[in-house]
């Protein structure tokens, strides 16, 4: 049933509408006020925890214990300095940067070379291979056999073993395939006529053209690694190899009630993500929405 049909039956007369003219604006103002009230109410529970974090990080421990929710009496950054030193932060941070950048780079490069021929159908069974990637989204989690594999390869508690867990992302693959399909195939042909090699063609012609998709996939994948907590808990046992998420949980375990210290550590982990988010909001949102299909 079309919209018109549906409302056709109760179509009010025109003059009735004119009468409503003034009350409509009052009504839309009411809607506006109610909207702001609701949004404000929800926003409180997003801003307050954030503010609480900043506020707590400025307090001394006795000050926090006396009144956890109260405003900090003065602005100091001592907790940050202390947490930075106590928590072995530089090491954790470096590990996180290393794992995230290396794994993401390998993932993006290797996936590009899988996605391109699949999107083009350049080999027999390319559709079947794509289906295999989609099917994986519905298979049981790989957690246990993956651990057995890494363990028996002797890669437990090794950086290489840990990084190798992050070289795959079916969603990212599917995003890339779909994007490459939108690039005209004639390009390949003219490149071939010019005598361009495959490697050069993919890197210098395909890659720049699909940059938006690459940006989305990169950001999606990097955020996933940066935030990962379970895999470092499972696969890494020595603290000098911990990424920052795991380090933070260890820090919380040791300094359990020292919330000013924990809060400043959390803020330090959070800041790079927040900056990245504000800079790359569009890529991040499109990546994570597509990525959320994984559930």
């Amino acid at each position: 049933m079309s919209v018109r049909e549906r409302f056709g039956r109760s179509n009010p007369s025109l003059d009735m509408k004119l009468d409503e003219g003034t009350s409509m604006t009052t009504r839309s103002r009411q809607i506006r006020v109610v909207s702001y009230l609701l949004l404000g109410l929800v926003a409180v529970f997003y801003i307050w925890p954030l503010f609480m974090l900043v506020n707590t990080s400025m307090k001394t421990l006795p000050e926090y214990l006396k009144d956890p929710s109260g405003l900090a009496e003065s602005i100091t950054f001592e907790n940050f300095v202390e947490a930075w030193q106590l928590a072995n932060f530089p090491q954790y941070l470096w590990n996180s940067v290393l794992y995230t950048s290396v794994a993401t780079a390998i993932f993006v490069a290797s996936t590009l070379f899988v996605a391109f021929p699949i999107a083009r159908g350049y080999f027999r069974g390319s559709n079947a291979l794509l289906t295999l990637y989609v099917v994986a989204l519905f298979l049981p989690p790989a957690l246990i056999p993956q651990f057995q594999l890494i363990l028996n390869l002797g890669l437990y508690n090794s950086r290489i073993g840990f990084i190798s867990l992050f070289l795959i992302n079916p969603i990212g693959m599917i995003i890339m395939v779909n994007y490459i399909k939108s690039i005209p195939k004639e390009l390949d042909e003219s490149a071939a006529v010019d005598g361009s090699g495959y490697l050069r063609f993919v890197f210098s012609i395909v890659f720049p053209l699909i940059r938006p998709a690459v940006a989305t996939v990169t950001v999606l994948h990097a955020i996933g690694i940066w935030n990962e907590l379970v895999l470092p808990t499972i696969y890494l046992s020595s603290s000098e190899k911990f990424p920052i998420t795991r380090g933070l949980i260890v820090f919380e375990g040791v300094y359990g009630s020292n919330w000013p210290g924990i809060a400043s550590a959390v803020l330090m982990l959070m800041l790079p993500m927040l900056v990245l988010f504000l800079l790359l909001q569009r890529e991040i949102i499109s990546g994570l929405t597509a990525g959320s299909i994984k559930g």
Binding site: F7, S35, V42, F147, L276, T289
Partner: protein
């Protein structure tokens, strides 16, 4: 159009031309088979063994013993079955609330309001922060002695131990954080759907004298069907598998465990008293979770297809 045959692509000798894409494809595909697809399939095999997490330890075939222990050992299976039921409860509450709040927020920020970009960004923000930050932030916010939420409770003369309280209470607060952390995705998917609805439809309905509620019921809701269905499925499947906030917020606390956490705790010695790596058992538990997702996902999908036929 395509005058050129595939075999003429990518200069050089003919045979090399055809194979170049295959050679470069191999590393990616091999990673995929070894790290993801293979282990994923092997989960079902491991669930029939007594595998432990010790290197070089014997792995014996024990048939369906793990499943038997998980489900049919009466009192001894009680905790596992409770965890399964709790997972369903978690899923039902999270899906219902996250779906509704996400829809309401999307409707609100889809209006031409000053500051709507700010609100969108704010509500989406937790999604990128990850479970550690989400969890620690709320642990601080939910401090039972003088924390902000305790203060709010105090205004109404109420009191709570929050995450440290009774299992049901702690469980409820994890649900709150779970929804708080993920409602942004639901909102964004709804928003994307709303922005594809043609404004002509609204204009037509308004000319016909439709009120705000009628506009929603007869235009927005049916037109939003793809986004509604996506969110419905995502919320169900996502919340069935979610457990990591429990790890940060409550730990493996009796009376709060969900299946995903049970798999991790049993498999990697995190159960607390006398922990051991019971990976065969954990694999069986993750197969149970997988079947749960499969069955519920199947019916949810049937429902969604039925809705699509009704509305589109």
């Amino acid at each position: 159009m395509a005058v050129m045959k595939k075999s003429y692509l990518f200069g050089g000798e003919k045979r090399w031309r055809n194979l170049a894409p295959i050679y470069f494809l191999l590393p990616g595909v091999l990673f995929y088979f070894i790290i993801a697809l293979g282990p994923s399939i092997a989960t079902s095999i491991y669930s029939l063994t007594d595998a432990s997490g010790l290197r070089g330890a014997d792995v014996n075939w024990i048939g369906f013993d793990n499943y038997d222990e998980f489900l049919f050992q009466g009192l001894a299976s009680r905790d596992n079955i409770d965890a399964t039921l709790r997972t369903l409860r978690f899923c039902a509450i999270v899906t219902l609330v996250q779906f509704s709040i996400g829809l309401i927020l999307a409707l609100l920020v889809n209006q031409k309001l000053r500051g709507r970009t700010f609100f969108r960004t704010l509500f989406f923000m937790p999604v990128i922060l990850g479970v550690v930050i989400q969890g620690l932030m709320w642990k601080l916010f939910l401090q039972p002695r003088g924390g902000p939420m305790a203060t709010i409770f105090g205004w109404f003369g109420a009191q709570s131990e929050f995450l440290g309280g009774q299992p049901d209470e702690a469980f409820m607060w994890v649900i709150v954080v779970q929804i708080w952390a993920n409602v942004g995705i639901t909102m964004v998917i709804f928003l994307a759907g709303m922005q594809t609805i043609s404004s002509d439809l609204y204009e037509a309905a308004k000319i016909d004298g439709a009120s705000g509620w009628q506009l929603f019921r007869d235009v927005t809701w049916p037109q939003l069907t793809p986004a509604v269905n996506t969110n419905f499925l995502l919320n169900i499947i996502g919340s069935l598998q979610a457990w990591q906030l429990f790890l940060v917020l409550t730990g493996y606390k009796a009376g709060t465990q969900v299946l995903g956490y049970l798999v991790f705790a049993e498999g990697f010695g995190q159960t607390g008293e006398a922990p051991s790596f019971r990976q065969g058992f954990a694999a069986a538990a993750s197969m149970v979770l997988f079947f749960l997702v499969l069955v519920i996902g199947f019916f949810a999908n049937r429902f969604v297809t039925w809705r699509e036929r009704k509305f589109l």
